[in-house]
């Protein structure tokens, strides 16, 4: 079974800290518990999404700047 990091909140998912900066993580990167993998904007307030499991990123089921629901997968891990 693949591991996934889920959105803790409903809102807009951002893979970059600011539009002109590189993404927090890319496919192939390794992730440790506690790493920031993206941001969720909720009502103009930005919240860091922190990895709750470790692994290597195989994909991002949610795109950058995409609206997401709480519990929706953001990152696939192997």
């Amino acid at each position: 079974m693949t591991k996934q990091i889920l959105s803790p909140l409903p809102g807009t998912f951002y893979r970059k800290p600011t539009p002109d900066k590189p993404a927090f993580k890319e496919v192939g990167d390794s992730v440790a518990v506690g790493d920031v993998i993206g941001l969720i904007e909720v009502m103009k307030s930005f919240n860091e999404v922190v990895a709750d499991q470790a692994g290597r990123i195989t994909g991002f089921p949610a795109d950058d700047e995409e609206p997401v629901m709480a519990g929706q997968p953001l990152v696939d891990l192997a």
Binding site: G11, T12, D20, E41, V42, M43, K44, S45, E65, P67
Partner: protein, 460 residues
């Protein structure tokens, strides 16, 4: 041109407010909306609704092309921008007029002058309105900036020429800090607003935020007295009143006359607000900026003057001359508005969207609740956290505060946390009762009272 069909280029409670005013005038309404707002109260109340894009505001409520297309497709002959989004976008105002439609607001050029902090300051000085001591215009030369900072005295506020809404502001307490912050502020302003231009202003310590409501028809202008909005958190207003409890009558007349003078010099059309800092220790007031739109807190002015500001701005946009002379406008009683936001005061005001599982709206004399909520509505996470505004009126300020406490007790918004517990505490705070506050009063108060914001207290 009399307006027959009005497009509302906004969402939330202000869209509902505008639809109500339009309907009373016999004007049909078109509500544009994002995919996240298909179930909104404004969409339900409007005569027609048009989907203009995905949830992100940049692709919907800020999408000028989609909004103008919706206006043409529905045969709308006017656009009301509400507040926020495109309300103070001069190019959008021009585009609406270029498309042969009525813009419910001031001319694009008036928005441009007042939206440019430096130009607004020069216009204010030209109209004889006192401004905060500072640089007369933008400062680009570091040596020049140091000279001005020394002349006006520390602490000095460094502001972005293109900033707004409390963003792009830094405070330097001495020359060392000033020299460190200036380059940072310029770089940040360039990144955030595309213009690194800065200007300097003296910091007025312990100032109150007082603002004057004006109405103009392009020729004449009148004021509708002032509001005080000194209770702020992170430069966002949370509790607003009309009139100010502390302004002496002679100063009120001077302040309001200065606002009318400035509105006339720019040939202002529609509803607008001039914001001032008021130092009650010295009795001085200073113009800071003008907002060329209807404001969130406009209902307190409506309650103390009996004038429907949104209706008047639509009538003026439709070509009617101003219906009021200054002597027709009287101040009666006291009004207070509190902002009910989807934020958890017990968790540092963390925003919390969700579904409204229950709603009890307070009633009775002098109570008004402007909201976009209904039972079963799901508050989307993509926009600001304002759910509604609870407004009360009574004969005097103590009675208005008692009425607010009573109305808050009746208000129940179930399914998500709101700022109601904060307002319940404020409504029985002795400093609030004495109007002994300033713009930096609330934040330390919140730190001291954090432990009391966790639960809804019912004891009186």
């Amino acid at each position: 041109m009399a307006i027959r069909k009005l497009l509302i280029a906004n969402r939330g409670e202000i869209a509902v407010r505008i639809i109500r005013a339009a309907r009373e005038l016999g004007i049909r309404t078109v509500q544009v909306h994002s995919a996240a707002d298909a179930d909104s109260l404004a969409v339900r109340l409007a005569d027609e609704a048009v989907l203009i894009g995905p949830p992100a505001a940049s692709k919907s409520y800020l999408n000028v092309v989609a909004i103008l297309d919706a206006a043409r497709a529905t045969g709308a002959d006017a656009v009301h921008p509400g507040y926020g989004f495109l309300a103070e976008n001069a190019d959008f105002a021009d585009a609406v007029e270029a498309a042969g439609m009525v813009w419910v607001g001031p001319k694009g050029d008036a928005i441009r002058v007042m939206g440019d902090k430096v130009a607004a300051r020069i216009a204010a000085e030209g109209a004889g309105v006192p401004v905060v001591p500072g640089s007369d215009g933008r400062v680009d030369e570091p040596e020049h900036a140091r000279t001005i900072a020394l002349a006006i005295g520390f602490p000095v506020m460094i502001k972005a020429v293109a900033g707004g809404g409390g963003r792009g502001i830094r405070i330097a307490h001495d020359m060392e800090e000033f020299e460190r912050l200036m380059p940072q502020a310029s770089a940040e302003a360039r990144a955030a607003f595309g213009d690194g231009g800065l200007y300097l202003e003296k910091v007025i310590e312990r100032a109150r935020h007082i603002e004057v409501q004006i109405l103009g028809d392009g020729t004449r202008a009148v004021h509708c007295f002032e509001r005080e909005c000194s209770l702020q958190r992170r430069r966002q207003k949370v509790w607003e009143e009309a009139p100010s409890a502390v302004l002496p009558q002679a100063l009120r007349e001077k302040l309001c006359a200065s606002a009318v003078a400035l509105a006339k010099t720019v040939g202002y059309r529609g509803a607008g607000t001039l914001e001032y800092l008021y130092d009650d220790a010295s009795g001085h007031f200073y113009f800071i900026e003008m907002n060329t739109r209807i404001q969130v807190e406009h209902p307190v002015t409506e309650m103390v003057t009996g004038i429907d500001l949104v209706r008047e701005m639509i009538r003026i946009a439709g070509g009617e001359p101003l219906r009021y002379r200054q002597e027709d406008i009287a101040l009666r009683g006291h009004a207070i508005e509190v902002r009910i936001n989807a934020e958890d005061p017990a968790r540092n005001f963390q925003p919390a969207p969700g579904t409204i599982t229950g709603l009890a709206v307070p009633g009775g004399m002098g109570v008004r609740f402007d909201t976009m909520l209904y039972q079963g509505y799901t508050v989307p996470p993509f926009y600001d956290s304002l759910l509604g505004k609870l407004i009360v009126w009574d004969e005097d300020r103590p009675a208005a505060i008692a009425r607010m406490a009573r109305a808050l007790r009746e208000l129940a918004v179930d399914g998500l946390p709101t700022t109601k517990p904060l307002h319940q505490l404020l409504a029985r705070d002795p400093d609030v009762a004495a109007a002994a506050f300033h713009t930096r009063w609330l934040e330390p108060w919140l730190d001291q009272n954090a432990h009391r914001l966790g639960t809804e207290e019912t004891t009186e």
